[in-house]
Symmetry: C2
């Protein structure tokens, strides 16, 4: 997606250790119209998987997952990282290491929002190590529902997430912008 790549080229910052700062338009301030274009493009590329639901993890997955769900006209579920008072006692629960927080985070989904008949498209802002998406996929499998596709806004291929997920799931994986290298302060597109 050319427009998104141009924004990353001009406004993204390589903070080192694989951290890409895009919080001026992706994950603190969100360029709403650009995010709608990103969701529409993910929806277009993944329409053929016939998803009944989009699943993401709070917080920064919410914007791209919502715009993809808007494009596909299906509901979106965001896994919570802490349990709100409104969530039932028994929930689907898994954990994943957070790249930017340096610790394990919990992912919680209410059984009320995942049915065994659901065909689930997992969407997130980044595909890096793939650990968060793998944890979401385990939650889908625990519910009896089916993972039918994965869509992300930015993929960092050098962190191996695609290999991890491809080894576990036979589903299409789509990313709108691919970054192949961030060593030595560079941002090299793939």
């Amino acid at each position: 997606m050319h427009e998104l790549q141009e924004r990353i080229k001009h406004e993204g910052q390589n903070l080192g250790r694989g951290i890409l700062k895009v919080d001026g338009f992706i994950n603190h301030q969100v360029d709403a119209d650009l995010m709608m274009k990103a969701g529409s493009e993910l929806g277009r590329r993944l329409a053929h998987v016939d998803a009944t639901k989009v699943l993401t993890a709070e917080i920064s997955g919410i914007a791209p997952a919502l715009t993809t769900a808007l494009a596909l006209h299906v509901p979106v579920v965001y896994a919570r990282k802490s349990k709100p008072i409104t969530m039932p006692e028994q929930v689907y629960r898994d954990t994943a290491p957070s790249h930017t927080k340096g610790k394990m985070v919990e992912l919680l989904v209410s059984p009320e929002v995942l049915q065994a008949t659901d065909r689930v498209l997992i969407v997130d802002d980044f595909l890096a190590t793939g650990q968060t998406i793998a944890a979401l996929a385990r939650i889908v499998q625990a519910s009896g529902a089916t993972v039918v596709g994965i869509g992300t806004v930015i993929e960092k291929t050098f962190e191996g997430g695609r290999e991890l997920l491809s080894a576990q799931l036979s589903v299409p994986i789509e990313s709108l912008v691919v970054i192949a290298d961030m060593s030595n302060g560079q941002i090299v597109f793939g």
Copy 2:
């Protein structure tokens, strides 16, 4: 907004102590199309304030704030509750008591995403005590920007938020559904 009120009537649950469970369509699973209608309606009612930016608090404010921003074609900023590695050292910071978590939460906004020239529309899922919105308004004021309006999806008038905010800010406050009473297990619309 009739469609939203009907959904609350049929699927909302009064959990007691003013807690309204709407996590099947508002704040865990989100009915994307309904949320787009809600954002469009908030955008329509508040178009006249000429906002340059929408501001909300993560997590459950993100969906209505993003759809309002889509309707108005402006960026949306979500205040973070913990500091990501991508945020600069010096940030705007305030605190508000969380109704559903029973503790104080921090709200953090990077100075990079609020300019003194910004006209800020604050959007959240609920208007209850108004404390979170008041904290967001203090952050806007600290940045030198101007709060020009407040929009929420569901207002619980019996918690006094509108009075609190009206005493502090002379701006339009719009809510799509008003709940006047939740005592004795009821959900009474206003």
